[in-house]
Symmetry: C2
Subunit: 414 residues, 2 copies
């Protein structure tokens, strides 16, 4: 017997046919003797419809009222799933955020979970009842409804799994797991049977859509094993997937687990910046003040040691604003020339094994060099090497790196 | 300054254009210095959509889950109206049933209100805040969401008006008041400036759609003045309507205030029933056991005092079932023949002035007799005379009675 949290997103509960399919997945786990809590999103399109109504009501609207309106989508799905489960002979009841309660702070629209009352749910598990929980929502200290923002239902599921001390949190989605890279680019990309929380976090940060950064962070913090699996699979058989856990010995055998890429990058280069103490602060201080998220930062030493070039990247949506901020700080920075480019892509090699293996970066540089892919900037972390390259070379670079680290070879499920 | 509860139904909040119009009505009352609570229904069609989803999920579904799903329609409207009011510079916040809380019993799907916590709302009125309340819903003793069933939002509004000791409960709807009779039948029908709770109750019982019986009963019980007015009227001017209050001296001047009719009637006549003690019990006991609502009952004395005829009416939907129940009880009743007819209509003359005026019924009988309308059965109450007639004569009878009691003559607003 295990205690499991199952999470189903909007496409998995898009209509009653899909909800019945979800119920069959739940039934399988219940019949296996497991204690089950199910977290559901709103039916596909419903949250967008409600958000549009709020915007139409007033472009600048009270976030508390927005939350009251938008949270209703999950209330509908949780009630419907409870009805369908009951009709299949499974004892189930729905829970809205305020009923549990799922206590959050009062940052409406992007609330953070503070505390989840688990006792009542645990008591009902013992009686064989399935808890069907409206995701994405909580209760503020003042008794208003909050929503958790982007990736909210994933966050609900992971936080709940932590509060319930669940053995596993299964994230059912429209893909059957996490891949070594984007299968649309590399045909030989394969599903990873397991990866570490940290690797998943890097991949999510780089725009892998399968899980939101925030839910992975939470899973890492509370050491919740996540399983990404397909809700569209035959519900009578536990679908394979990707298990995302803390590191263990096994994992170190694979140096690199995946190649990720992000097109949402814009490069800004400042030429001839005086190489004096405090110059970085004069460049990045104003950007931070403007809430612009700077990612890669590269500072080259100039030939004569008096002036330097600084290159950094920002999200494409902030490109024009970032340039304006820098121009506005020109007197303080005293740079020569500002050059910018949005035709860039960041490609990253990810693997916890990098920590204990030398020469991992060299493999990437050699592979890219052989294909004449010019590297504009490089940043590294303990478990990641990222390179900024011309956007035109994106697919080529992903394929070259995927092959260079041997990710094409099949690995069986653990 | 007055304290007012305003209620807007589904067609009045059908889209954001209509919701803005509602907000303008609210603004007018706020700017007149009033304390305002607004009760809203779900956007037109939304409740039906949610009910259909529950039925599709399972024909026999848990009423608690049904309530959790269906109540979300009102949550959306209350949030949207709060947003629109705020955008017009009016301080407002939404309240869901559990937030107030609006405590009910646990009869899910048809819950009855037990207690409404008013203190917090009153404190916010004092600060100038408008309360926007999701109608139709409450909180059960076990902390589940309940819905109030048919006429639920009207009931919410009246109960709230009682709890807040409001000066008036304005029911905004798609008609501009209560009429002397159905204007589709009688062109000279006119809006009544005022009527009593009791008269409205009789009219609602007879199928007048403007207010649900339950909300009128509640208004009568707690002496809440109701005002029926049009939500489609120019919102910058307080629209005229019909004020429904307890009786006062003024009202007695009008003997009859309205002519109502109901087509939802079926007549059953039992011939040659032994005229012995307990016969009524033997007829109506089995019908009551079958939860069939019997309305008019007429028992004639037979010529020789040994056998009688009993005629009664039931709702048309219960006609076949009622006949079966009576046939099943044939041995106990020992009637001769059972005759039934669904081509009947009940026409009623209503007016609190009947109490103190003689000859009111005679006027009706003479007027109908002059037009050769055959009366099948008559019942009377303190403030109502109802006749059962052939359905073919329905419109004629309504017109004749409307004229006979002088209801065509114009009366100005009080």
């Amino acid at each position: 017997m295990a205690r499991i949290v199952m999470k189903f997103g909007g496409t998995s509960v898009a209509d009653l046919g899909r909800i019945r399919h979800v119920a069959a997945h739940v039934k399988r786990e219940v019949e296996a003797g497991n204690e089950v809590a199910v977290v559901v999103s709103a039916m596909a399109g419903e949250t967008n419809r409600l958000v549009a109504l709020c915007r139409e009501a007033a472009p600048l609207h009270d976030a508390r009222e927005y939350d009251a309106v938008v949270s209703s989508g999950e209330n509908v799905t949780s009630g419907l799933l409870a009805i369908v489960l009951q009709s299949m002979g499974i004892e189930a009841r729905s829970w809205q955020g305020w009923q549990i309660p799922m206590r959050t702070d009062d940052a409406h629209g992007a609330a953070r979970i503070r505390e989840i009352a688990a006792a009542e749910l645990l008591e009902r598990f013992a009686r064989g009842q399935v808890a069907v929980i409206a995701g994405f929502q909580g209760l503020s200290p003042l008794g208003r409804i909050t929503t958790l923002g982007r990736g909210g239902s994933d966050t609900t599921a992971v936080a709940l799994a932590a509060a319930l001390a669940a053995d596993r949190c299964d994230i059912y989605t429209d893909v059957d797991g996490v891949y070594t890279t984007d299968p649309r680019i590399v045909k030989t990309a394969r599903r990873l049977p397991r990866i570490s929380h940290e690797e998943m976090l890097e991949m999510a940060s780089l725009g892998a859509k399968v899980l939101h950064v925030r839910s992975v962070e939470l899973a890492m913090l509370y050491d919740v094993p996540l399983m990404v699996r397909s809700s569209f699979a035959d519900p009578t058989i536990a679908p394979p997937g990707t298990l995302i856990t803390g590191e263990d010995m096994d994992m170190e055998s694979e140096v690199v687990t995946s190649i990720a890429y992000s097109r949402d990058e814009a490069q800004i280069t400042l030429r001839d910046v005086p190489d004096a103490p405090g110059v970085a602060w004069r460049v990045f201080g104003p950007l931070a003040d403007a809430h612009i998220n700077v990612d890669m930062i590269v500072q080259n030493i100039s030939d004569d040691g008096t002036a330097t070039d600084i290159t950094f990247t920002v999200p494409q949506g902030d490109f024009e604003r970032a340039k304006a901020v820098i121009e506005g700080a020109r007197d303080g920075i005293r740079f020569g020339k500002l050059a910018g480019d949005t035709e860039v892509v960041k490609v990253s090699v990810i693997g916890v094994g990098m920590r204990s293996h030398a020469g991992v970066a060299a493999t990437a540089f050699r592979a890219l060099g052989e294909k004449a892919v010019n590297i504009r900037a490089i940043t590294t972390s303990e478990i990641k090497i990222s390179v900024l390259i011309d956007a035109a070379y994106a697919e080529l670079a992903v394929r070259v790196l995927h092959a260079a680290y041997g990710l094409d070879k099949a690995v069986t499920d653990a």
